[in-house]
Symmetry: C2
């Protein structure tokens, strides 16, 4: 695959597709293609169908009208790396090791200086899908470790176009390398160098590249008649947000909205491509995001969590409730809403079920098989656990959420202007110290009170409180009793492990010299 490949006109591509497909027979419906689209820091409230006042996501809204909407869908952690690790392993970060024990209840992720990555002991979705002949590609952000042994092609993916870390930058090569962009197992350039992002204007054509990479892969696999798994993970809505020239200035919402519009357009292109290629009836598509909108980034660089409390980094609904749409014409009933409590981890289990594969038996899998919801809109009772680092902060059971710990962020950070709940303040809930409530959890009815503003009055006289508490307590006790935390992978940092000399750098003449190794325990302030 050449770097310039994505530039090939889609008209030409379409011509070849339709020509080639005349001789292609339908694929095996018992192993449908799977496309998981995971957005970066996009909030629940960023979609028209979820109440964004600008109503600028016609393609996603149409996807919902042709598919199934999940208004009660969650991530497994309010930060990107653990969320993505949970999705691909079907397991809570506390189990798969994507957390830290350096401090209590702190979110950790995979910046360049992280030493760790996803453990070899974990089994990733594409590794299992391979058994049924799936070809898997990740397009966009990986975020499960950037050192060679952790990269996607080591973990079941057959192809990769994208980057191991966030597109922060631009950096000065002497103290911090720019993030590489990989094509499969070799870097082909770096952000702000070969892959431009104009910090001032917000212009970058990366989403277009990621779109084209997705379309190309779908096309190739359709021709090859091999079932595929496309993990489409663009990052345009993560600060610094970007959009390509055509979309800049188009939104009512400024640059962030421009990025959303381009992603919405891209989703529309992908779905249309499936229809054009005649594989829409054989392709399961799920759209979601990795965590809530990053409200600390302000209105020009972050999205909306709708009516929910706070955002990214927190275990309030704004941090963990995600936009979610399932689409599979002819299989998933059109225009439906499922109130099933869902999780990104369910995408692991559900994908395996769709592929006719079993989940691993030798470990706890937290993901639920959503196919009963998808095909019959039935409901399965299951809890949602809200973790922040090594601490279970809250649990949702039915409409009730019990906060065992509350924390927005520290006074120290808050006073510096870092605010995870801008404009929101709920006394006793959005606390700036880590508040323990394990003896008397704060219980919220999320139906009546989606904004988590009115904890139910407790005390022996509150029948509702007591009834819920006894139900929740059993579930939490069972969870904690059986929980075996995985080895934490996000404890150590080292400047020497940064992306100084990724594979392929020699060919490009872009190898940088790493400093001496000086590992330290990473500091996770949130």
């Amino acid at each position: 695959l050449e770097m310039g490949n994505w530039r090939s006109g889609s008209a030409a591509l379409l011509f070849w597709a339709l020509f080639a497909l005349r001789t292609v027979e339908p694929q095996n419906v018992s192993a449908p293609n799977i496309i998981i689209m995971i957005m970066d820091d996009m909030g629940w409230g960023d979609l028209g169908v979820f109440g964004q006042p600008s109503k600028e996501t016609p393609n996603l809204d149409m996807m919902a009208s042709q598919g199934m909407l999940f208004p009660d869908f969650y991530t497994a952690n309010p930060l990107c790396s653990p969320s993505r690790a949970a999705l691909l392993t079907g397991r809570l970060p506390i189990r798969n090791g994507f957390y830290t024990t350096n401090a209590h209840a702190r979110n950790a992720y995979t910046p360049q200086e992280i030493v760790g990555g996803i453990s070899k002991e974990e089994i990733l979705l594409p590794e299992i899908l391979k058994k049924r002949g799936y070809v898997s590609k990740i397009v966009g952000k990986w975020h499960l470790g950037h050192r060679e042994q952790y990269l996607p092609l080591e973990r079941g993916f057959d192809q990769w176009f994208g980057s191991p870390n966030c597109h922060f930058g631009p950096y000065n090569t002497s103290y911090r390398p720019n993030i590489p962009v990989y094509n499969n197992s070799e870097m082909i350039g770096r952000y702000y160098e070969e892959f431009e992002i104009d910090e001032r204007t917000g212009e970058s054509n990366l989403t277009q590249i990621y779109l084209q990479e997705g379309l190309d892969f779908i096309f190739q696999q359709t021709l090859a008649r091999q079932p595929f798994f496309l993990y489409w993970a663009p990052d345009a809505t993560h600060a610094p947000v970007y959009a390509s020239k055509h979309f800049l200035g188009k939104s009512q919402r400024g640059r962030y909205g421009d990025a959303v519009m381009e992603l919405d357009y891209s989703v529309g292109q992908i779905l249309a491509w499936l229809v054009t290629l005649g594989i829409d009836k054989n392709t399961f598509v799920f759209f979601t995001s990795d965590n809530g909108a990053a409200l600390m980034s302000g209105p020009k660089q972050s999205g909306s969590n709708g009516p929910f409390l706070c955002g990214k980094e927190t275990t309030f609904e704004g941090g963990m409730r995600e936009p979610a749409i399932a689409w599979w014409p002819g299989h998933i009933p059109a225009g439906t809403v499922s109130y099933q409590l869902g999780s990104v981890m369910d995408l692991f289990t559900t994908s395996l079920t769709l592929a006719g594969l079993a989940a691993p038996f030798d470990r706890v899998i937290d993901g639920l098989d959503l196919t009963p919801s998808l095909f019959n809109n039935s409901m399965t009772d299951r809890p949602i656990f809200y973790y922040r680092g090594n601490q279970m902060m809250a649990v949702r059971v039915g409409p009730y959420k019990a906060h065992y710990w509350t924390w927005s962020n520290s006074w120290e950070e808050f006073n510096k202007g870092i605010n995870f709940c801008p404009g929101q303040e709920v006394t006793g809930v959005t606390t700036h110290t880590q508040q323990e409530h394990t003896m008397q959890p704060l219980i919220i009815h999320l139906g009546r009170d989606p904004g988590e503003k009115y904890p139910i009055r407790y005390g022996v006289l509150s029948k509702e409180y007591q009834t819920v508490l006894s139900r929740v307590t059993l579930i939490v006790e069972e969870h904690q009793k059986t929980l075996v935390p995985g080895q934490p992978q996000l404890n150590m940092c080292d400047l020497a492990v940064m992306n100084w000399a990724p594979p392929g750098c020699e060919r490009l003449g872009k190898c940088l010299k790493p400093p001496q190794s000086q590992p330290w325990k990473c500091d996770w302030p949130h």
Copy 2:
């Protein structure tokens, strides 16, 4: 019309309708029927299509998918009476007299002890529609004055089924009469007496009665081949919220959600009835609410303003942005969104245009003719003024909102637990004293910042601030220069004017003896 009329089975009604209509010819399309559905304290975020997570309004969502959605639609005042007066006169409350000068920037309305009502000098929509032969009915809450000279049948309505005031109660007849329910010009009972509302369970069949009254009227007018105006104003979502037995406990959102579900069902019934009667292509329907959700009533008695700031009583978006859907199959394009800044006052002007009538020339009309938006989705530049009592608090011009005054409520009330912005606090914006910013208005970009959390930095160096300010200043100066405030109607209160002995009370034996007249200047704390 007998009290029991609404009980007549709809199956029988349908039979007669279809039988009768075989001989009825289509009505005159140049004078379409007009139905304005105005909800009470329902918030922007209470509809699925506007992002309510429970997604429990399938009929309203379908109405939107068959019609046009207005995400930028406003009331003229964040309180019921002035809002409704503005709708029916097409004029700001500051012009039509529905405000008070007893204190600065206080919302006033029409409780039982109010002496005033809508002035005879104002011209109401049904009064003009009569010229083209429209028959007008109000079903539900009037709220423009309960003394005899102010009642609907004195002001252009031909029929009325409903009440003059809010359904507060139950009261003890010795100090405060229960609110009467009128059928046309006579009371036929009182709330909590003949018209039950069970405060404990929230059960009441009032919405069913109001639905049936609406359906009956539509049917009768269709038979009579006379164009009609139905002003459908149920009040189930105003605290104390109520629903009928079938809907109680059905919602994920508790009693408030039950009330919304019943109203949603009723809207669906009305639209379906229009289709059944074959007059849907000849009937313009508009759905909206009178002000934002009454957040001070808590999660069991109030709704959602979605991502917007604060609620009822305030001039933040949560107080004044309203859900709004226009429906007219064959005339309004289906499934469209209009970004036109709209106002309840536009319903006055638009209705007149639809009926081929001119608005009064002898006075300022604030309502805009929305037909260019409705039929061609075109946009007209116009400001939105946010008034609180006698004070223009803010103005919206394009995406920008300039706050000239900010106030949530007083410290005194706030400290008593009355909170118009529960869980929300934006420094310098949700102020607890009336803050004047006329020299340097707080300017918000509502596209980037619908939650009004990030006033644009001002100062000579902020080009955006300066550009917007000069544009807004011209508009505000023009508005204030030409403004002639109407005689304030909501200044005086008197226990003697309460609903002691409404017309018709003799026949029912329900006349009560009023106390001595002792008028006082009403106290408006908000």
